[in-house]
Symmetry: C2
């Protein structure tokens, strides 16, 4: 489809929003000082007892609890100053249109004589700023180091400086284009894709490209490279929300694979303060525990760690829906796990010619 109204300027609008939110943080500090008050900042609490599972949003959200960082309190001065510095630094990144990483922010602080004992302290403050702004750190240009990739019939237009207005065809490189800052902030211009397939492993991603899944099933293919980095989850959500494309997820048949699918759908507990990293309508299509029996797949035995993990997931409110719960129980029943590659037992193309066809049929009634 050609986007009927190309969503031009979304990236620019997001950028302005972040800059305005950052300005507000600075302004509140100045205002307090001018009015003779101690500057402070209040943010939603991320402590475990303020975590609530929202069945509508299909994700954890933060409750009403709030925490305050006040320059009046000697114990708060350090985190308050760090947070204010980070807001200043984020403002600089966004203004200069440069990106950074978690590790890089830790070191950059030293250029300003801002002290962090270690990276876990600066990571924590970065999450504080996310919470204060209710925006993902990618919005203020702090990206993860790991990347995954995308492939399919779609034209995007970059908004990244030096590339503004340039277009890219996502089918131009059969090994896939990395999902980094440039792709995350690009605008979607034109596509004939009707679905998004998120795939856990690079090998299978390449198989899908080679078997022309993007054409045969009109699919955009995403290699999540294991648990997908946040920028990848963000792109998946954008494809779903902006283009109304259904999202289907394929992972290994083990509790870790199931949880990759879950995190794409419902996010993780430690991003309860964000709404932009989930795709509530995304469907987990396999490989299910029950598929191991159904397709007589080569399998391994679940080990102790796997079994412990299944029990943990069974207690998780995100796993109460029938499909998820039943599959977790099936893992416990048969104590078997299998990988996506296991379908090669029936020849290299079976997973596309038979399994994918079955699953997409099944998805219609989900």
């Amino acid at each position: 489809m050609k986007m009927s109204k190309p969503p031009k300027g979304i990236a620019e609008a997001r950028r302005k929003e972040v800059l305005e939110a950052l300005r507000q943080i600075g302004k509140s500090a100045y205002d307090a000082i001018y009015e003779g008050r101690f500057p402070e900042i209040s943010l939603p609490s991320r402590s475990v007892n303020n975590l609530v599972y929202d069945d509508e949003l299909k994700q954890f959200i933060l409750g009403d609890g709030r925490v305050k960082r006040s320059s009046r309190n000697v114990k708060h001065i350090r985190p308050y100053t760090q947070l204010l510095w980070l807001a200043f630094f984020a403002n600089q990144l966004v203004n200069e249109e440069r990106t950074s990483t978690l590790r890089d922010v830790f070191y950059s602080a030293q250029a300003f004589n801002m002290e962090f004992t270690d990276q876990s302290e600066s990571d924590e403050i970065i999450t504080d700023l996310e919470t204060a702004l209710m925006k993902a750190r990618e919005d203020f240009n702090v990206y993860p180091d790991e990347r995954s990739a995308i492939f399919g019939n779609m034209v995007i237009e970059y908004t990244k400086p030096g590339y503004e207005g340039k277009r890219q065809d996502l089918s131009s490189h059969p090994d896939g284009l990395m999902i980094g800052p440039a792709l995350t902030t690009a605008e979607f211009i034109e596509t004939d894709a009707e679905i998004v397939l998120a795939i856990e492993k690079g090998g299978l991603f390449t198989r899908f490209v080679e078997e022309k899944v993007h054409e045969r099933f009109k699919a955009l293919l995403i290699n999540t490279a294991g648990q997908p980095p946040r920028s990848t989850r963000y792109v998946i959500r954008r494809l779903n929300q902006e283009l109304n494309l259904p999202v289907y997820i394929f992972c290994d048949a083990d509790p870790w694979g199931a949880h990759i699918a879950m995190v794409i759908r419902s996010g993780s507990a430690n991003s309860a303060h964000l709404r932009e990293l989930t795709t509530p309508s995304a469907k987990w299509l396999g490989v299910y525990a029950s598929d191991i029996e159904k397709y007589k797949l080569p399998h391994d035995k679940l080990n102790e760690l796997d079994i412990k993990r299944v029990h943990e997931l069974l207690k998780d409110p995100r796993y109460t829906e029938k499909l998820w719960k039943e599959e977790l129980e099936t893992f416990l029943k048969y104590k078997k796990k299998a990988e996506q590659e296991a379908f090669s037992r029936y020849g290299l193309t079976y997973i596309v010619d038979k399994y994918l066809v079955d699953k997409l049929e099944q998805a219609k009634s989900m």
Copy 2:
């Protein structure tokens, strides 16, 4: 530069070579049977006492020791049959122009009732076939799952089926293009690059793209994503050998970073049977142990594991050259390590504006 004589057909030539080598393996089995002998195959031994460090090639190579797999010997029947099946399967992959992964080969075997107890057994046989052919498994289309990325001013032309003759500009996607089967087998058409910079981390790779290192220093940038997958090392070697581009490597200042640089230069002990994964002229430009002092970098203390690793490397014949040996000793002297991002202590662009300039100057006299 425009390649004066575009190295057309290299991929096709390699393909024919592999097919011919595979045919020889099959032929020798048939010949033996027709002549009433038990078929067998002889290959160089990869055991530790057949590993020799070659100072000329700057890599481990295999000595004169050989092993035989004979169908006459009841203990050999299993590995001989597996190897013969793998040669058959590899032949099918190359003929059908499909790619596979280590994991996938393990499962594919089951489609032929070929038994492997676990993946380590099939991996071993894959290495046997590499050894028999003296060719990397990528040459018979068995690729790794992990990928890294490339960026810069260079036009390539794909040889991958469905993409033959299509061209790609490696500067077209600022997050980088994945280095997978398509990129590995592409032909290099045109570039103005004068150097190759291999970088350990994605964050720094993105910084280099944003600071236009590819234009300012006429560089092709490669994100090795930690220890580079073999296909990435293969591409680095091709850039060096086919285009005469010098290769410079930047890693973290710790023994693990140093070893990333070493493996790019001299390969790993377990690919002693291959010559196509090393770049003997590649130069390790940093971050050195001595740079931590020189640039007063934020650092951490080496932990026990780090120190143990330095001692291991000091015993490795690849580390006897002055630069490498001295830097390893400097690690032990100061017991400090630092990451590439540590330069952000001097602002985000210092690593490009000052450090990279220093290092490239230094490289001229190496």
